[in-house]
């Protein structure tokens, strides 16, 4: 029904989706899985008309189609339900469904009819609710179903519905409800693309599953033909290139750098226990949504720690603010480089000294000369490739931005470096450089805790790996125990 032929999308020099060819039959639920940055969201944005591909063809019923806007896609029968983005929260449920096609009678909107219509549609999806309620008063699950109802109502010729992470913030009853609805729609002949990182759900609902990794499609499988563990390996990478095997994992220096014991917040996350020793690189593994980023945020004083204790260098910490973490010589290279890391307008020099300056306080300004010295030193030692240190950081490539961020934190001479997906969205060359840099820092005595999406990379670069699943730390592997199969097994087990 829908066919993608070598679909490619690049932003500048970064290829985000690389020659993806895929077929989706009618009346099938096709899941798309892959880690952060695998290219799933870019791919579905191209399918829904929000982004135009650089190369490749999309054909619908063997007709090539060219989508210039989501509205055009809708007219052709392709509708996407993105999280939160396609409904107006401040208007009523009924209005969200009928907006743009209000039922009119005698020149005015017939609200009675609109509400009836909306109620009937939602009843078909198995919910009864007062459709006059404002959408933002409703739970996420209801909003999800309202969006689906709108998509169904909008196009009588709806052929393909794309659901982006529809289950990420709803409970298991609601998931079951949604799945019943989806199966019913499928049986009516609708094709559904289901994007999710909950593998149990993916296996439960899908006819076919496609896995993406680093912008490429790594495989499409019948859901019955592939096991969960195998799928995780596909998603996370299996080929063991082992350029720099962590020369058989010595450290375990016995000198604790960071000790988190049973930290968490009731009902949200935890308990999580992690211990990182001096000169040790510890990987924090887990699938998307397993709570790994939350752990990083807690350890850096960004989120409240409800229970448990954190010690750095044997001292118990009260992590009330990021400054408290910084003063305890903890540093965090965040996941979302653009929003949380880089000051795009400001120069590379300013980006590098920002952390030092924040710690020094506003009264003790670092002199311009000293700033330049520091910036130059790191630009050189980290091989940051740029025209000059006064270049706005926003103009650099992802890899160089990441190095600038690393430089910001290394300038603070931290004892503990938290890295949340340090090689995400970074090209291969820079990736290797960053990996080596981290290994070298560890040799010099730094304690590093890394979240990574690439399981193979994690096996290669960590001395120890702590595995998280369902917001808890569930296992710890060291030395010979670390292997891709084993990690994939633990991560996939009982996940959902």
């Amino acid at each position: 029904m829908l066919k993608l032929d070598r679909l490619t999308k690049a932003f500048g020099s970064a290829v985000v989706v690389n020659e993806v060819s895929l077929e989706i039959g009618s009346g099938e639920i096709h899941s798309l899985v892959g880690e952060n940055g695998a290219g799933k969201s870019t791919l579905i944005k191209m399918l829904s008309g929000a982004l135009a591909p650089n190369a490749g063809v999309i054909s619908l019923d063997s007709q090539p189609i060219f989508l210039h806007s989501p509205l055009e896609a809708k007219e052709l029968g392709i509708s996407a339900v993105f999280q939160e983005l396609d409904l107006v929260p401040t208007i009523s449920i009924a209005e969200n469904i009928v907006i743009g096609r209000y039922p009119m009678s005698r020149g005015r909107i017939d609200w009675g009819k609109a509400e009836e219509h909306a109620a009937a549609l939602l009843a078909e999806l198995g919910i009864t609710i007062d459709t006059r309620r404002r959408l933002d008063e409703c739970s996420v699950a209801i909003r999800q179903l309202v969006a689906i109802a709108r998509a169904l109502d909008n196009d009588s010729n709806l052929k393909l519905m794309i659901l982006d992470e529809p289950t990420s913030s709803i409970d298991s009853n609601e998931v079951q409800h949604l799945f019943r609805v989806l199966k019913r729609l499928r049986d009516r002949g609708l094709s559904i693309i289901f994007v999710s990182h909950f593998l149990d759900q993916v296996f439960e609902i899908s006819n076919r599953i496609s896995a993406m990794r680093n912008g490429s499609l790594v495989g499409s499988y019948e859901a019955t033909d592939i096991g969960k563990e195998e799928l995780v390996q596909e998603m996370l990478g299996r080929q063991l290139s082992l350029q720099h095997p962590m020369a058989f994992r010595q450290p375990q220096t016995g000198v604790p750098a960071l000790e988190a014991e049973g930290i968490g917040r009731k009902g949200e996350i935890g308990p999580v226990s992690i211990r990182v020793e001096r000169a040790e690189a510890v990987g924090l593994a887990g699938l998307l949504g397993s709570g790994r980023t939350s752990v990083m945020r807690m350890l850096f004083g960004l989120d409240r720690i409800g229970q448990g204790t954190v010690k750095a260098g044997g001292q118990r910490l009260k992590l009330k603010s990021t400054m408290a973490a910084i003063k305890a010589r903890i540093a965090l290279v965040p996941q979302d480089r653009k929003m949380e890391g880089i000051f795009a307008q400001l120069s590379v020099r300013e980006n590098i000294v920002a952390g030092l300056q924040a710690r020094a306080g506003w009264l003790r300004k670092i002199s311009r000369k000293r700033q330049q010295e520091i910036a130059r030193r790191y630009v050189e030692s980290l091989h940051i490739d740029l025209p000059g240190i006064e270049t706005p950081a926003g103009l650099l490539s992802g890899g160089n931005q990441q190095k600038v961020l690393l430089a910001r934190w290394l300038a603070l001479n931290p004892a503990i470096l938290l890295l949340d997906e340090p090689t995400r969205g970074v090209d291969v060359g820079a990736k290797e450089q960053i990996e080596r840099l981290i290994a070298k820092l560890c040799e010099e005595g730094m304690a590093a805790l890394m979240v990574g999406t690439d399981i193979e990379e994690m096996c290669r670069t960590s001395h120890r790996v702590v595995v998280m699943r369902a917001k808890k730390s569930v296992a710890e592997l060291a030395n010979e125990e670390i292997s891709i199969e084993r990690l994939a097994g633990i991560m996939a087990e009982g996940h959902g």
Partner: protein, 308 residues
């Protein structure tokens, strides 16, 4: 609790307080005066409500009032047009002026406050260029309207009625809420966002011009400084009426009550005799603060409902 209930409660409390304190307060004459004296503010507030509901703001309101007022005076006194024709021309000019502001906002994605700030300079400057002097109105129809006690209240209620109908029962009126609630989602749902924005500022321009006409009638004079700082009271009335300054939520009925609240405060201060007029500004400021804080505390607390 919906914000409009807070508005109604405040209004009733104020009226109750005044009724107890001032024996002659609860009379029909006082209430007719209340509506009549606040008609200009009310008319301007209708346009402001649309602007704020769409997620914007219109700072040019007061300046357009001054511009309209002087234009009408000039047209009737120098060009000997009848007041009706002059008024009609002024209304068209106001709407066109609003269109232009809306076009700048939609086309260049400029912040509404900046564009309407420029609009304020432009309209006030143009008014001053036309005449710095106050010109008295001798046109028959306008003088007749000025003599009718119920004319301005009638105009106000008519406008509110039409606007409420438009805002509740006409698709274009509904789009204002959608755009204010989420510009991006509205676009994805097929709402013509740019046209809605232009329309909103056209409505606001039209209402400001109508407020200008009302001012001219009310004062029987054209004055280029008329309406100075009217936009602030209009914003205050809108916010006190429960319209969210971030857009998307609100009601014209609430705005009407907001205008009445400001009016009652004013009346109470007059009744009090010893209190001075500036207290109304201070009280308005305090009410504004209170209602902004109420709005701030609201949305998070209200998530409920489940599938089953």
């Amino acid at each position: 609790m919906k914000p409009i209930w807070a508005t109604i409660a405040t209004l009733l409390a104020l009226i109750g307080f005044c009724g107890i304190r001032y024996p002659h307060f609860l009379t029909a004459a006082v209430f007719v005066d209340l509506v009549r004296d606040n008609a200009i503010l009310g008319i301007a507030a209708v346009g402001m409500t649309f602007a704020i509901q769409s997620g914007g703001i219109d700072l040019s309101v007061g300046a357009v009032v001054g511009f309209t007022s002087i234009v009408i005076a000039k047209l009737t006194s120098n060009l000997h047009l009848t007041g009706i024709a002059a008024g009609a021309i002024a209304l068209v000019l106001g709407a066109l002026f609003g269109c232009l502001q809306g076009w700048f906002i939609a086309r260049f994605r400029l912040p509404p406050f900046l564009v309407t700030l420029a609009g304020m300079f432009l309209a006030r400057g143009a008014a001053f260029v036309i005449s710095m002097e106050s010109i008295s109105i001798e046109d028959r129809p306008l003088v007749w309207m000025a003599s009718q006690t119920y004319f301005l209240p009638f105009l106000l209620l008519l406008l509110f009625g039409t606007a409420i109908y438009f805002s509740l029962c006409v698709p274009a009126g509904r789009y204002v809420f959608a755009v204010g609630g989420s510009r991006e989602s509205s676009r994805l749902m097929g709402v013509p966002v740019a046209r809605v924005e232009v329309m909103v500022y056209a409505i606001s321009g039209f209402c400001s011009a109508l407020a200008g006409v009302a001012t001219t009638i009310y004062t029987s004079a054209g004055n280029s400084t008329a309406g100075t700082l009217l936009e602030l009271d209009a914003i205050a009335a809108t916010v006190i009426g429960g319209t969210l300054l971030t857009g998307g939520v609100g009601s014209l009925l609430g705005t009407f009550f907001g205008v009445m609240i400001l009016g009652v405060i004013q009346t109470a201060i007059t009744f009090e005799g010893t209190l001075n007029s500036w207290w109304s500004k201070i009280v308005t400021g305090i009410l504004l603060l209170v209602f902004i804080l109420i709005q701030k505390g609201m949305p998070e607390a209200r998530r409920s409902g489940s599938v089953n």
